[in-house]
Symmetry: C2
Subunit: 110 residues, 2 copies
DNA sequence: GAGCGTGGTTACCGATTGGATACCTTGGTA
DNA sequence: TACCAAGGTATCCAATCGGTAACCACGCTC
């Protein structure tokens, strides 16, 4: 889903309080996801970083963690209202990056 | 101009390829600025970081550095077209942060 | 009872970031 | 002559970031 060099890596903005936060948020766009479900689109993330990223997004009120009482372990993560509202400017950035993709590459090469 | 805790520091996004890039860009919004002029609004930046930030913004095509042939040394920095186009999504972020300032503080405290 | 999946944690390590401080060169000014 | 401003560099250090790898508890299934 996210390439090794995706538009956001060319931003002069590291999109992430940590490197992954932005991608994690975008992965939650479609509704609640489990820990292991997040590891699929975020193929290159280590468990450590995913936990770290989720914890800090939770602490700051962007993501809600829900642990179910199921006998088998089940935890989901979903966007809070705050988190969802942030998707809009985030998308603006991503769109910008896609629109200027070529210019960005040109500039970086020379 | 930029408080110690300004909206962007509460984003889950470090707004800056480095910490300062976003602020530097916004300082250039009003037209060309000299090195020393940038140090005023960016009160807490060290010369090293300002140089570093400017160099990387220049390398990546967001900022143009102009050295004048004046006998006295004179250098200005200004936004390129690419840099200017980035202001829009950047402002979207800043606006968002201001709108959600209280929520951000609340979330961070608890 | 052996192994598997879920949802992590821990330890370790190297690379990167960012801050403080001192210093430098060129030219102008008193 | 001494000093000042502009536009930086150089050096050092501490903290943070991010990756690898190993491990772990719980419940389930074979």
């Amino acid at each position: 889903m996210f390439e090794e060099i995706c538009p956001s890596t060319l931003l002069p903005f590291k999109v992430g309080g940590d490197k992954w936060a932005g991608m994690v948020l975008r992965c939650l766009e479609g509704g609640p996801r489990r820990y292991s479900e997040l590891r699929v689109p975020l193929a290159r993330i280590s468990p450590k970083m995913l936990t770290q990223s989720l914890r800090s997004l939770e602490r700051d009120g962007f993501v809600r963690r829900t642990e179910y009482a199921d006998p088998a372990r089940r935890v989901t993560y979903e966007l809070t209202g705050l988190g969802r509202s942030l998707l809009e400017p985030l998308r603006a950035f991503c769109d910008w990056a896609e629109d200027h993709w070529d210019e960005l590459l040109d500039a970086r090469e020379s």
